[in-house]
């Protein structure tokens, strides 16, 4: 047997899961899709003393629209996100990004909440939730709190969740009118973690377009390009301006760490190319927006 021994709990209500986690403490882990946790346990990189399996919690598996916001349960499978008409209609950016996560066999198990709680800087979903200004609902036996994406992602594999807290739900507010989005990434093979990727949101306002760019694998978590957004303030997005924004993002906003497969210089090069593509597409979609 590969993983180290652990005790296994499969509660059938959220309340029971929270009580168990409070009681078992730091040594216990929630098990969602298992697509990051189980590989780590197979290699004994992770050796939790107990697992609290969330898979029976049907109450955490939902996609619905409430007061114009898209509400997604943490246990929603990634495969469901890419297939659900409400996700396509209300969060096209997410719908576009999810097929880049691993392979269908992995997305059939992997969950939204698992990916967000895992907080891999190369993961797609944390970037999407950040780009869309999502809010995250954390539950514990002590109560509930809502966190903005910016408060939630704290760095490499680190979130603001306390050890007894469960990520229960994500709320994605609607984009302002005349907004368009695009997600692009480059991976060595389809389904591999990307070398670099970017989510773009462009909103066309009377005073000029507003640009939001968020990157994956470009730092210790989802990287929001603030200087690029400033450089874009109030300027028509002509090709030279788009080039300039992409250069500012690549040179000033990103902190790529590089890997065996891509040096930081190459990642910055990718950032320029992908930012241009994403901005052009997002702008087109903003102009077409109903």
């Amino acid at each position: 047997m590969k993983p180290a021994p652990f005790t296994y709990h499969a509660p059938d209500s959220v309340a029971a899961a929270l009580a168990l986690k409070a009681q078992l403490g730091d040594e216990a882990k929630f098990l969602a899709g298992g697509q990051s946790l189980i590989p780590a346990m197979n290699f004994r990189v992770a050796q939790p003393a107990a697992l609290v399996d969330l898979n029976r919690l049907a109450e955490l598996d939902f996609v619905r629209v409430e007061a114009g916001e898209l509400r997604l349960g943490a246990l929603t499978r990634q495969r469901q996100l890419e297939r659900h008409p409400l996700v396509k209609r209300h969060a096209r950016l997410m719908w576009e990004a999810v097929p880049h996560i691993a392979h269908p066999q992995i997305r059939n198990r992997g969950t939204l909440g698992g990916s967000l709680a895992h907080a891999d800087p190369a993961a797609e979903l944390p970037v999407i939730v950040t780009a869309l200004n999502g809010r995250l609902r954390a539950l514990s036996a002590r109560g509930e709190r809502w966190l903005d994406a910016a408060q939630f992602f704290l760095g490499l594999f680190t979130t603001a969740l306390e050890p007894d807290e469960l990520l229960a739900e994500v709320a994605l507010p609607p984009l302002p009118p005349d907004s368009g989005t695009a997600f692009v990434e480059v991976a060595r093979r389809h389904g591999d973690y990307a070398l670099l990727g970017v989510a773009a949101v462009v909103t066309v306002l009377p005073a000029g377009p507003q640009v939001r760019l968020v990157y994956l694998n470009a730092g210790e978590g989802p990287v929001v390009a603030r200087q690029a957004a400033e450089a874009a303030q109030g300027r028509a997005l002509t090709p030279p301006v788009i080039d300039e924004i992409a250069a500012v993002a690549a040179e000033h906003d990103l902190q790529p760490i590089g890997s065996l497969h891509a040096s930081p210089e190459y990642q910055r090069h990718l950032a320029r190319v992908l930012t241009r593509r994403a901005l052009v597409t997002a702008l087109e979609r903003a102009v077409e927006a109903p």
């Binding site: 296994y8 298992g34 697509q35 269908p104 066999q105 992995i106 389809h190």
Partner: protein, 161 residues
């Protein structure tokens, strides 16, 4: 502590007692002798262990056996028999879609689910569907050819078998 697991696999129901850390892939192979499901990497990358969980392809190496309690599984043993191959297996035979065969069970289980959802796939769709299954022998050409051929025989419009 041991946990009781009851699963239906290829139409047969099994009840066993397992340690929580037993992977579903090892449960199938070691406890139930269903050795058609292969194990390559145990980190979700190679696809050799792909099986159907309630009809959807998943990695058997990334689930614990105890989690399969109450679920319905299909493994490669559930497709056809040596005397009566499943149309997909027949197509792999005819098009030489395998050499050593290590990757084959996982590829068959991936494709069987894919062809059900996408009865008339393009070559690009077939290649995308196969992106999560590694084959070190064939170079994939004949696997793609077998998938195309199977799609034709399996499509109801084409008269099926």
């Amino acid at each position: 502590m041991m946990h009781s697991v009851t699963v239906t696999i290829n139409g047969r129901t099994y009840t066993r007692s397992v340690e929580p850390r037993l992977l579903l892939s090892d449960f199938l192979r070691h406890d139930l002798d269903l050795t058609g499901t292969h194990v390559g990497c145990e980190q979700g990358v190679c696809g050799a262990c792909t099986i159907l969980l309630d009809g959807q392809p998943v990695r058997a190496c990334l689930m614990f056996a105890v989690q399969a309690d109450g679920h319905t599984l299909t493994t490669v043993e559930g497709l056809g028999t040596p005397d009566k191959l499943h149309p997909l297996q027949q197509a792999f035979w005819e098009k030489h879609g395998l050499q050593c065969g290590y990757c084959t069970p996982g590829i068959l289980m991936t494709l069987v689910a894919f062809l059900q959802e996408t009865p008339d796939p393009s070559e690009a769709e077939i290649r995308a569907a196969l992106s999560g299954n590694l084959c070190r022998c064939t170079g994939y050409q004949n696997i793609v050819a077998a998938a195309r051929s199977a799609a034709q025989t399996m499509r109801p419009a084409a008269g099926g078998e």
